[in-house]
Symmetry: C2
Subunit: 302 residues, 2 copies
């Protein structure tokens, strides 16, 4: 079993109503690979950093069974940087700064050992890069999952639509699903997005949970109501990591198993938001994860 | 088994992005009693209308087993009127007009046959009137449920806090729960509201479902994702009607049975929003309701 995860490895400045953290380790691929590492080994990272990225963090990721041979380290360059401020409700945020740095000219190169994964997770990035990674594979993975955002709908819609034709699962938030489909009802939006390619659609609704659609079938996982949310950064990527990690582990791509994967994803997202950055994803245990999945079952079972 | 339902019986002008309806029959008590009438008979209404209220509608309510002997009809006066316009997301609305009319001097008078109900549903009204109804009962009901809104927190907070001490279940929306408790996290807000009296708290989140809290226990029912939402007016009251109707029918006030009641409430809310006003609540059948409850189970079971 193996998972290839593509996306940013970065620094973030994060401001929430409850605190502020500067230059914390972040990036979609960091959250995805850390969350997935609790389910599958190896998680094979495709990304790029500058030589300012802390070696201790890379060593920690490797200790967690994360393969960094597809991580490019650009000497004399700086890592991708993002700064954002969350609104009081923590469900929306403003981007204060984005410095592409190494990402500006990123060309992913897959090591030979990466070219036949069970599951491929294409984290939010330029759609053309997502396509490039797909094109480098030797064989089609059991499942290809793609995350994207409104920015690419505004600026690279044709490229996005092209890559959507080749994937199995699209993860997207509710407003983005509406933008991509032009439909307000998420049920109707999902029907319309199916026609663009993906046979599964996961619509993420932040603190309101996530919906899974599969040609007329529907599943809903709430977000776990928490006494304290410290920092929502990375929740969606931790979700993607738990989701794809569980699927790479079980290699069962049926609707019923994708439901369970959504719950494991939601569980990893709920751990993520309980601390700043990746802190809370560093030392989980299988029994902590199982207990949290059980609390999702308790929350909705009647 | 019996349910007493207190609240407005009214006319509404409703504007949504999808249409407009004038002077349709509405009011909290109308939705509550109609939704509850699928579970329990009699539903005993405590309310007031003017002589402009259509007799045919009153006759229809009576045919559905709704007891109107506690409904005052004021000759020469006009019924309560509300006009509102929904925003594009249908999750928020502006009030365009409110005419209290008969409600300005409403003094509820409970007929003798109303004074020992199994369940009492105090729909959203002046907190003092809610207290007055409680004071007229001969014996404490098995369960007292109260709905309220931010307006009473702004204008009659002491009266509201007084009546909260005497009830079992508070239904309230998420923003109102935050306002009442001064806490942002709904988990913490519920803890704080428990201390005000209610042992159960239902926090309604519109299209994002409803949470049930009971001293540290939590249950979540999503709203059913629908292909088409026509008019959200009355969804919360239909929820309250299904919730209290199911509880009056089963007379089991345990946490486990309140979970089921929340799902029946959510089912009735989902029927309500599929048409303007009360239209879709007029001719449901038990098998339609059971099928919808089953689709809630399918939606969340994993």
């Amino acid at each position: 079993m193996s998972l290839v995860a593509v996306g940013t490895v970065a620094f973030d400045d994060i401001e929430t109503p409850f605190g502020r953290a500067e230059k914390v380790v972040g990036g979609a691929c960091t959250y995805i690979s850390l969350a997935a590492s609790y389910f599958v080994k190896p998680v094979q990272v495709v990304s790029v950093v500058g030589d300012d990225f802390p070696e201790a963090v890379l060593a920690f990721l490797q200790e967690r069974g994360i393969d960094l041979s597809g991580l490019q380290i650009k000497l004399g360059e700086k890592s991708f940087f993002w700064a954002g401020r969350y609104h009081r409700d923590l469900n929306s945020r403003d981007t204060l700064d984005t410095q592409l740095n190494v990402l500006a000219n990123f060309e992913p190169v897959l090591p030979e050992s990466y070219k036949a994964p069970d599951v491929l997770m294409l984290g939010n990035l330029v759609p053309k890069i997502q396509s490039d990674v797909l094109a480098q594979l030797k064989q089609r993975p059991g499942l290809v999952v793609l995350d994207t955002m409104n920015f690419w709908m505004d600026h690279a819609l044709d490229d996005l639509k092209a890559v959507l034709k080749s994937i199995d699962v699209l993860t997207i938030n509710d407003e983005e699903a509406r933008q991509l489909s032009g439909k307000h009802s998420l049920v109707v939006a999902a029907q319309s997005i199916h026609e663009m390619g993906p046979k599964y659609i996961v619509i993420k609704k932040g603190e309101h949970g996530a919906l899974l659609f599969h040609h007329g079938q529907m599943f809903y996982a709430p977000a776990l109501p928490l006494a304290e949310v410290i920092d929502p950064t990375g929740a969606g990527d931790s979700f993607a990591g738990g989701f794809t990690g569980y699927l790479a582990k079980t290699k069962d791509y049926s609707f019923d198993n994708l439901k369970r994967a959504v719950v494991y994803g939601a569980a990893m997202g709920s751990f993520c938001v309980e601390a700043f950055g990746i802190e809370n994803l560093k030392q989980l245990t299988p029994s902590m994860i199982e207990a949290r999945v059980q609390s999702f079952a308790n929350l909705v079972h009647f």
